[in-house]
């Protein structure tokens, strides 16, 4: 599905892709000076479909499913798996162990950051094709490059976990924002320290330069609760806003809604 709107020579090209069990939307600003934007978008879609094929835990024959069953060594698997598992270890360290792909029931599970990682790669593909202003929103985890227009940064609303039709506020995005919570898919988030499916916040959103990191940190923070603010504060460039169980909105000191 593609939609465009034009004003002079600059237009916003929009696409929507159902992949990875969710919906990904692309917004690319096309000023007409580059190669075909649809070629760039085709590459961006391919990145996400490839990530789905490699990392899906719903597909028993995916490389990650085979790694989990011990049928495939990481070293023999597609190289993305090792890259993502390394990233998972980085985020485990950054989050004081609140994100831990290796402590998941059923085997190693990088799901908490794969979507963000894939969306970032997808955006990088669009940028490499020469489109400096673009947005990829993978089911609520958003990576942005450049701006929407010269005087208008990308503006992203943070959903209110209590209502699909309400928002907590708006962030002007320079980099990325990831949100984790249970409002859409129920209690699927696992507490690696308490060894049970449990979250302390209704939702947690993390903004920062790298969506794969932000995605893992949001997963960690929603599970950790207020204790998690200390690890977010310790990471340069990342800030967070959360909704607690009573509907209160809390944020790190460097976070601001626009």
């Amino acid at each position: 599905m593609t939609a465009t709107k034009t004003a002079g020579k600059t237009r916003v090209v929009r696409e929507l892709l159902r992949v990875m069990g969710t919906v990904v939307t692309f917004d690319v600003i096309d000023d007409g000076s580059k190669d075909d934007v649809h070629v760039a978008l085709a590459s961006a879609r391919a990145v996400l479909r490839r990530a789905d094929a490699v990392f899906s835990l719903w597909k028993p024959d995916s490389p990650l499913s085979r790694v989990r069953r011990g049928e495939l060594d990481v070293i023999d698997a597609p190289s993305e798996i090792e890259e993502v598992l390394r990233l998972c270890r980085d985020v485990r360290e950054l989050s004081d162990g609140w994100f831990d792909a290796e402590a998941m029931p059923g085997g190693i599970d990088p799901t908490g950051l794969v979507k963000g990682w894939a969306a970032k790669r997808s955006l990088d593909t669009i940028r490499r094709a020469g489109f400096e202003n673009a947005l990829v929103n993978a089911g609520g985890d958003v990576a942005a490059a450049g701006t929407y227009s010269a005087n208008h940064p990308w503006r992203i609303a943070v959903a209110d976990p209590g209502s699909r039709a309400r928002i907590l506020g708006v962030v002007e995005l320079d980099g990325s924002i990831a949100t984790s919570g249970t409002s859409e898919r129920g209690a699927h988030l696992y507490d690696p320290k308490g060894h049970r499916y449990s979250t302390r916040f209704s939702s947690a959103s993390v903004v920062g330069p790298d969506l794969s990191i932000a995605d893992g940190l949001a997963t960690a923070l929603v599970v950790a609760g207020e204790e998690g603010f200390s690890f977010i504060d310790a990471i340069d460039g990342y800030e967070a806003v959360v909704c607690d169980r009573r509907g209160g909105v809390l944020a790190t000191s460097g976070f601001a809604f626009s």
């Binding site: 069990g21 985890d141 943070v158 909105v249 809604f257």
Partner: protein, 75 residues
Amino acid sequence: MKVTVSGSRITNVSIASLNDGGNYRSQSIDQQSIPMLEQQALQAQSANIQGVSGATYTSTGFDQSLQSALKKLGL
């Protein structure tokens, strides 16, 4: 350290204010054509945004989401 954010909730955004600052569009929106969620989305603050960050939705959830409403409205 944490601080409590308050006063950031936007309320009662009127449809007239739903222009995007990028000036790529200027179109009227027929309120009658907007389903309930989109009405709520409008009333509940969607001015001038290009997307929504929230807990990962399923494809079905997307169709019921503010993000979907924004896309349908072409915002």
